[in-house]
């Protein structure tokens, strides 16, 4: 009972989902004995989820690729020959080198759930292609963009609720596999403290199940619901006017000159400072000055004759409109007006009658000293259910406005930024890849993804047409700040806006669960031009650790390692892991060497960069700049002087944090500290960070910011108004005629609500039901259902619907239904339940597998009973005027709108007679995969007599 647990313990960072928890891996007899959470780690504080604990089965998966592969059969056949790495890298370098010498745009490099975006984006920049992004356009760019343009931060990893102080918590549309351990830990703290948890979600699973109140809203109506809450708060005067005046642009004066070029922009002084109306002086003066008493209402005239009004009044007029009254939205939301009014009352009471105080003096950016930190203890969090709709950007903006009106952003008890946020709203980096920035053998001056703040920042040609392959940063999606992964394959196949040569994908299962129009996408990947006989997408290079559905479509496969077999860096240049109290970053270290001929993708990318002679990856003599691969880069790369991928233990002796010279011992210091670094900021810096002198100075000192200017929350978005004006025909850079109406309608400077586009596209009568997915907490995308342990928890997925709807349709548990959308159909067994919106059906995400993929038995339930809702989701809207088909996406950010889906269901026969759940032919299982065991009896190392275990003796107690 007291045997040593392990021979050694190696710390690292989990990668079974995107949380990036700290782990301790126990090794025994050369095998992995146990993976547990690291109690010292700021993200997970010792806990670990089901996915993390199943890392052993990830590491031992028979779906792991073992060798580089060249395709020999047709695309999609799964027929390959094994090749050596020299050939693989030489082939890739030859293909990519030819592109770079010709036109770097012809490389489209898209990564999936990549945790090394600081490297991959920099690599694309050095290569010189603007056609780069990760998966954010599919995931939650609506949330990120709305947050960054409003607050200079966003939900999820950019911030966190003040779990220890909040008293009222609203959780909107959360995906339960994301940021899961921090949210679970936080929810238990709220429950222990007796705070109220309200979950707004069409489906009552996981977190919603333990909420004090579940609001089963109809999908796509969250924005209406929030606007109605704001309406109620305004009517009652329950708004934190002091917060609005100090920290937001609520008092800034907006020019009212309909039909003129400056309409809707802020009135500014000669220095460009926005003006406010000082009620003492009775005149317009620059915002932010000392001793002002700015007005929040009132239409006045400036000396030059222009009419102006405070932004807040426009906001109030918008939200006080009768269409946002609770009674007007109740039916659409599926939430009674009385309930909306009660929630508003509870929010107001928590915010204004239960304020929380931290006895900590602080000084604001103007130099004014505050004796205490006073907070409004209302916090919010939102995720995929908000963002994956075509109205998600404005919905998320509305949520942020609700937070701001309650004065609850980065205050005690509110929602708080995590460093390096807040950044300016929006951040100052512009997208890279304008026409004059792209050319043969030329790096781009900036990283491809950035934050446009005016039409001139868009990546469009002289005729206003997109110049990125995914049409991000075009008039179709001006604020597509995460790119549009979901459009790449179809655009490349169509040659719209232009054909490409090579599609280079990393960890993005685009031929299956990471695509809309799944069947069509697979066809596009394998379709040939009948005239030339060549594939329409000429070359596909793919890197993945597993034999996913996408591998079969690649011409060249670069096998990656699992997360337990490589170095990695979770960088502040990418996505933060710290806490509201301090900055943090982390590394992965190899726990075990790979037992097959695979290489970490990050090493491969640096190797390819050196072979291609890319700037920054090659020394002047042509030798690789990072001969030690990714760990060499992690330590020695500098993005700007003193700032590198890792912020901890910098400087020659490791005594600097944030900024400092490269430290050759840096990785050793991380390893000695459990593979993470966390640096707490001073107590006086921990709240009001957007306006807190101590924070802003600390952030500059740490290299997180270039200057200490405050972040003014943008209730009213002048950026959006600039685009709207272009849509109305004002300015130098104008959209093509056909785009103008759309730009003018959706680039609204104030939040609004409109029905998700799919509702008109599908027709209410023909497809009366909403269909959404929920993330099982024990799975992460396609990784879960190939894992020997996790697939026993979710091996197939029924279609869940309300008991009332089931009774109406004559359906009982286990009956099969045909689920049809305007795009396609699938079949599924049904399960009736109470906890789901009456107009909504739902299922678990990404359980289904294509027969033959992932080295599962082709008769596995994942292939024969599970289904993907993706098959029903069109990637395009129906043709509009002129026949053009827009992406099924948010018109502001390009976010894939896959939660807009509308379906109808009808009873059908079981698969034995009606056929498989979804149309997807079997693909060949690659012969070079590890042998698939029938049974597993896992031990760290095989032990004699494992089939008959030794006894547990009775005298175990000491």
């Amino acid at each position: 009972m007291s045997a040593p647990v392990s021979d050694s313990v190696v710390t690292s960072t989990c990668y079974m989902c995107a949380c990036r928890c700290g782990i301790k891996v126990h090794l025994k007899d050369g095998g992995i004995r146990f993976i547990e959470g690291n109690r010292d780690h700021p993200t997970n504080r010792g806990v670990l989820c089901a996915k993390g604990a199943a890392g052993i089965m990830h590491y031992h998966s028979p779906a792991r690729l073992t060798k580089p592969l060249r395709r020999v059969g047709p695309r999609g056949s799964g027929e390959f020959r094994e090749i050596e790495w020299d050939e693989a890298l030489a082939t890739a370098a030859e293909w990519l080198g030819a592109i770079r010498r010709d036109d770097p745009r012809k490389l489209a490099f898209f990564t999936g759930r990549d945790q090394s975006q600081a490297l991959t984006s920099w690599w694309a920049q050095q290569f010189g292609t603007p056609n780069y992004a990760a998966h954010g356009g599919f995931c939650s760019v609506n949330m990120a963009a709305a947050g960054l343009y409003t607050l200079g931060g966003a939900f999820w990893e950019f911030g966190e609720p003040d779990w220890e102080r909040t008293r009222y918590f609203l959780l909107f549309g959360v995906a339960e596999d994301h940021d899961s351990n921090p949210i679970k830990i936080g929810l238990s703290r709220l429950k222990a403290r007796g705070a109220k948890v309200v979950s707004i979600n069409p489906v009552r699973t996981g977190y919603s199940a333990i909420a004090d109140e579940w609001i089963g809203i109809t999908p796509g109506r969250d924005g209406l619901f929030v606007m109605a809450l704001i309406h109620e708060l305004l009517v009652a005067g329950k708004v934190d006017a002091d917060y609005l005046l100090r920290y937001t642009n609520a008092p800034w004066l907006v020019v009212e000159a309909p039909g003129e070029a400056g309409d809707g922009l802020f009135a500014r002084d000669e220095a460009g400072e926005p003006l406010v109306w000082d009620r003492t002086a009775g005149q317009a003066v620059a915002a932010g000055g000392p001793g002002l008493r700015p007005a929040l209402k009132g239409r006045v005239k400036l000396p030059d004759g222009r009419g102006v009004v405070p932004a807040f009044q426009l906001l109030a007029e918008r939200c006080l409109d009768a269409r946002y009254a609770p009674a007007a939205v109740a039916e659409a939301c599926g939430v009674p007006a009385s309930r909306i009014r009660r929630i508003a009352a509870e929010l107001a009471r928590a915010a204004f009658e239960e304020e929380v105080v931290v006895e900590q003096p602080w000084v604001d950016w103007k130099g004014e000293r505050h004796e205490r930190m006073i907070g409004r203890p209302v916090a919010m969090h939102a995720m995929r259910g908000i963002s994956a709709h075509s109205n998600g950007f404005h919905t998320c903006r509305a949520i942020h406005l609700l937070q701001l009106l309650l004065g609850s952003v980065d205050v005690p008890g509110g929602w708080r930024y995590k460093p390096p946020f807040p950044r300016p709203a929006p951040p100052p980096d512009k997208p890279g890849g304008k026409d004059d920035e792209v050319g043969p053998e030329q790096p781009m001056p900036r990283i491809a993804l950035g934050f446009p703040d005016r039409p001139e920042d868009l990546l469009v040609d002289a005729d206003g047409r997109p110049t990125r392959i995914d049409k991000a940063f075009s008039w179709e999606a001006p604020l597509a700040v995460h790119g549009m992964l979901h459009t790449v394959i179809a655009n490349a196949w169509r040659g719209d806006p232009y054909p490409i040569d090579t599609l280079f994908l990393y960890m993005a299962n685009m031929a299956w669960n990471s695509a809309m129009n799944t069947g069509g996408t697979a066809e596009m990947l394998s379709e040939r031009d009948p005239e030339t006989g060549d594939y329409r997408i000429p070359r596909i290079i793919y890197s993945d650790a597993f034999y996913s559905e996408t591998v079969a479509y690649a011409d060249l496969v670069l096998p990656d390692t699992t997360y337990l077999e490589r170095w990695d860096c979770i960088s502040l240049l990418d996505r933060p892991i710290g806490k509201a109290e301090g900055a943090g970053d982390a590394i992965r270290q190899p726990v075990a060497p790979p037992d097959r001929d695979v290489r970490p993708f990050q090493d491969v990318l640096l190797d390819l960069g050196a072979r291609l002679g890319l700037p920054g990856m090659t020394k002047p003599d042509g030798a690789p700049a990072y001969p030690g691969g990714y760990p060499d880069y992690m330590v020695n790369h500098e993005r700007k002087p003193g700032v590198g991928p890792l912020a901890g233990w910098r400087g020659k002796d490791g005594s600097s944090h944030g900024r400092g010279d490269a430290n050759p011992e840096q990785l050793e210091r991380y390893r000695a500290n459990g593979c993470f670094w966390f640096h707490e900021m001073p107590a006086e810096a921990q709240y009001f960070k957007h306006a807190n002198r101590a924070y802003l100075d600390w952030a500059v000192e740490m290299g997180l910011r270039d200057n200490a200017t405050p972040v003014i929350h943008q209730l009213y978005s002048e950026v959006l108004q600039r685009f709207r004006l272009a849509g109305l025909g004002f300015g130098e850079t104008l959209p093509p005629e056909a785009e103008r109406g759309r730009i003018a309608a959706y680039c609204d400077p104030l939040p609004m609500w409109y029905p998700p586009f799919e509702e008109e596209a599908s027709g209410q009568a023909a497809f009366p039901l909403h269909a959404v997915t929920q993330r099982p907490m024990a799975m992460y995308h396609s990784w879960g259902s190939q894992n020997a342990w996790l697939r026993q928890i979710h091996g197939h997925n029924p279609l869940f619907l309300s008991r009332a709807l089931g009774e109406e349709l004559g359906l009982a548990d286990g009956d099969w239904v045909r689920i049809a959308s305007r795009h396609g159909e699938v079949r599924a067994p049904v399960k009736l339940m109470e906890g789901v919106n009456r107009h909504t059906v739902w299922t678990w995400n990404a359980v289904a597998k294509r027969a033959g993929a992932w080295n599962l038995d082709e008769r596995a339930p994942e292939a024969t009973r599970a289904f993907l809702l993706n098959h029903l989701i069109d990637d395009l809207l129906p043709p509009g005027a002129g026949g053009y088909r827009y992406a099924a996406a948010d018109p502001v950010t390009g976010q894939a709108a896959w939660y807009d889906l509308r379906v109808r269901i009808e009873k059908t026969a079981a698969p034995e007679t009606a056929g498989p759940p979804q149309p997807a032919a079997k693909i060949a299982t690659d012969a070079s995969l590890p042998e698939r065991p029938d049974d597993i009896a896992y031990r760290p190392s095989p032990q004699p007599g494992d089939r008959r275990r030794r006894a547990i003796k009775g005298e175990g107690a000491p």
């Binding site: 997970n44 028979p62 009222y168 238990s188 977190y207 009517v235 031990r939 030794r950 175990g956």
Partner: protein
């Protein structure tokens, strides 16, 4: 048949779990951590038959079931973790024909001596909670050991000497301790939160306790709130004048 420890030989401790149904979100973390610890531990391996096939079937010592209770607005979703409850009157022990199943006198943990287990399955039939599983490959009976190879393990730091399911639970819904000691943290928790015996009427006197979901009426400091009153005297804009008049 096998005997339970005689009352006069029974030690003072009753180690067990307290499981909080108010905070369990059904994430399955405890389920997989248990599998992971125990497959490599003293009760392992916990095998998985047909692991990548048509009908995977593994031995698990802990499972979480989800069900709904009540209808309409009164309904709720309950996640219900279930493992051996280490009963005082453990029917799985008394039914065992070989002496393989036994209850430890010192701390009350119910274990299986696999050298004696013939895999007859009588204990699984006798257990009222369905908490025992036959290993599909090894052919012997598996059950929760309360991580007996962790809780007394001097190679682990003191704080880690708890069952793997307790250590990993992200919502702190699982607690471990001595339920025979009325002053223990777990006993106090049971008293404070109205912890109950699962199917008490059956009389097996389980050691593990469950804490019921709390009343879902909202904020502890709140009375009922109906709706906000419109701002008097000039409505919203009048309110704005007053609030800014200072």
């Amino acid at each position: 048949m096998t005997s339970l420890p005689k009352p006069d030989a029974r030690g003072s401790k009753s180690l067990g779990l307290v499981i909080d149904l108010d905070t369990c979100v059904g994430c399955q973390a405890c389920v997989v951590a248990c599998k992971e610890w125990n497959t490599g531990g003293i009760a392992g391996p916990l095998s998985d038959a047909d692991a990548y096939g048509q009908a995977p079937l593994g031995a698990w010592l802990n499972r979480v079931h989800a069900f709904e209770a009540g209808e309409g607005a009164d309904g709720r979703t309950v996640h219900f973790p279930k493992s051996c409850l280490h009963c005082e009157d453990a029917a799985c022990v008394t039914v065992c024909p070989t002496g393989a199943s036994y209850k430890r006198a010192a701390d009350g943990i119910v274990l299986v001596d696999e050298d004696k287990c013939i895999g007859c399955g009588l204990c699984a039939w006798a257990c009222p909670y369905g908490a025992r599983e036959l290993d599909p490959v090894g052919g012997t009976m598996k059950k929760c050991t309360l991580c007996v190879d962790r809780i007394y393990n001097e190679h682990l730091p003191e704080a880690e000497r708890v069952p793997a399911c307790v250590a990993t639970c992200p919502t702190s819904a699982r607690h471990f301790g001595d339920l025979a000691d009325p002053d223990s943290d777990v006993s106090r928790l049971v008293a404070a939160r109205g912890g109950f015996d699962l199917m008490e009427e059956m009389g097996y006197r389980p050691t593990n306790k469950y804490l019921p979901p709390r009343r879902q009426t909202g904020h502890i400091d709140h009375g009922p709130a109906d709706a906000l009153e419109p701002a008097p005297e000039g409505g919203f804009l009048g309110w704005l004048d007053r609030v800014l008049s200072g």
